[in-house]
Point group: C2
Chain length 154, copies 2
Amino acid sequence: MPGPQLLHAALTRNTGFLISWMGLVSSKHFSERIASIGLTTRMWGVLNVLDAEGPITQGALGAAVNMDPSSMVSTIDELESHGMVERRRHPSDRRAYALHMTEQGRETLARGRELSREAQGELLAPLSEEERAQLRELLLKLAAASGELTSPPA
Amino acid sequence: MPGPQLLHAALTRNTGFLISWMGLVSSKHFSERIASIGLTTRMWGVLNVLDAEGPITQGALGAAVNMDPSSMVSTIDELESHGMVERRRHPSDRRAYALHMTEQGRETLARGRELSREAQGELLAPLSEEERAQLRELLLKLAAASGELTSPPA
DNA sequence: TATTGTTATACTCTATAACTATA
DNA sequence: TATAGTTATAGAGTATAACAATA
């Protein structure tokens, strides 16, 4: 799509389609913002989970963000080349890395969180504080149950 | 992502990210369903708008679903090869087509709408009727305003 | 024999630019 | 000169398979 614009009324009937649409709008908007500090959405996800989980294996991190191993390689490559993450050797398993966040990684993450809040504010501008909280709760319920989804019927 | 599963808690803080995530879950789930009747998400969007707008030009249809002209060509090719849409010549402009939906297109659309309702029911299963209506209203507000978004700051 | 991470490869989706036939 | 549609191509993003080092 050449820039998400207005959704045709005919495509507005199904709430699932609405969610997909707003998901595209949101991720496009957000990725434009964090691009200004050299981040992609994938890097963003990895950086956040790494921050929460501490030194962790590349495979475990990939599993946590639902990214396959080969995509992880290039994502970590990017983060490392920007000095945000270090690949150190795992102390007891010489096949594996222990990924560490650098000081610059932490600074970038902090700056990214500011941008993230800004982007969210713009995205949710049409909603009142109460409505934002409502939306957030509803989405959390859906996300919590989304693991049981996605398998096509027999 | 190898199949949307659970979202890591660290990525749950930002509502914008939540929307993106659920958008991926929803569109993956939905596209798996309509694949069973030979439709892709793009074909689905075009079919719905074509149904609403009646015979229409390829370019106008592309604008209505925010799809660039070259992507429209392959999408209409698919629809035409499945006998759902016909490219007839525009009565007064021989450069343009007037796209017509066939009877089979209408049948597929009707069947797709059933699948769409089913998929929506599964996606929104964790929500009560009242919550579903809430979510729908909130998303409509956001979608209505999404045109003003997406441009990065100066 | 299995696992961690890597490489090479391919497939999908989407966008860009150059082209044709009309206007 | 501009527009409707087409073609060829290139760029993301993501997935698969084969591989080296280590377990």
